[in-house]
């Protein structure tokens, strides 16, 4: 087998630029949505586009990197909700939280749902991070007899993402169509 892990030396300025890029991207995404041009992000970071593309193979990976921490937090919340609420209620609360996360990020849902291969990294990220979280919630609620069994977590996750493009109503009420979907889980 080849050298397992040759001591990679990462230059300090490279590490620095990577951080700067992430911060800039977060700023720009908030201001102009995830569809903001790569050049705008590079400019905001004060680097050239070449630098951006050395750190991220494409825009989607950058988007994914920016939202990773927030996604991790959302995933983590599944466990704590499950510990403090009845399974069905925990499921609802978590879905609502996820809905708000998606709706909050201007253009995130559009990117998720575009089917554009350029954004493949995003579904992959949600799948790997949020899939298991939702699976645990579904399993608990299903075991408690609160929802029908046999619902595919990834399919549901994708569906909720699909439905979450509208901004959440200010009073905290979740999207009515998501509500409908959740009610459907309880039928039969």
């Amino acid at each position: 087998m080849p050298t397992p892990d040759p001591p990679r030396k990462v230059r300090a300025d490279a590490r620095q630029n990577l951080d700067t890029l992430l911060v800039a991207a977060r700023t720009v995404f908030a201001r102009s949505g995830v569809d903001a041009p790569a050049r705008e992000i590079a400019t905001e970071a004060g680097v050239g586009v070449g630098t951006l593309y050395r750190h991220f193979p494409n825009r989607a990976e950058l988007v994914a990197a920016v939202f990773t921490t927030e996604i991790d937090a959302t995933a983590a919340e599944a466990a704590s909700l499950l510990a403090t609420h009845p399974p069905g209620e925990a499921l609802d609360l978590w879905i609502t939280r996820f809905t708000r996360f998606v709706a909050t990020k201007q253009g995130l849902s559009a990117a998720l749902r575009s089917g554009d291969p350029a954004y493949d990294a995003l579904p992959a990220l949600l799948t790997s991070k949020l899939g298991p979280a939702l699976a645990s919630l579904l399993e608990a609620a299903s075991a408690a007899g609160e929802i029908r069994p046999g619902v595919d977590p990834l399919e549901l996750l994708q569906a909720v993402g699909d439905l979450s493009h509208r901004a959440p109503s200010p009073d905290g009420t979740p999207n009515p169509m998501v509500r409908l979907l959740l009610d459907g889980l309880r039928a039969q």
Copy 2:
């Protein structure tokens, strides 16, 4: 008031090119999806892009024009389903049909859901044509007590569109998430 309708003379070759463009667009959309480049459509029709853009202000209008007849047919089917089936069943059948229509058109749902202003004409078309059709189905089913009242037809239409990007399963089973949504309509 100004001249109400000065006898416009439409040149024969213009009318001809318009038809050719529609046929070409239908062909190309089927082959390469609705995201196919405008140039590809113009080439298929054997005309220049300028001609395309004189007949349609933008790509979205062309897409809308291509699907108009099919959309009209779908809308019309609401009435006939309502005449031959119980309201709830008619609703399910129609939604399934709509689902298949969207899933069949490669990239149509992506366009619908993209939020891209370039595709504004599409939601407008569905809204005006299919909205009333779905409204009649919902009203009938609701009056029969088969579903909950107060569901916004346009919201539901959009939601089903959002969920219909996967190809329909060959056995004719509708998308499970759409199924869930429909079950949700029956809850309470």
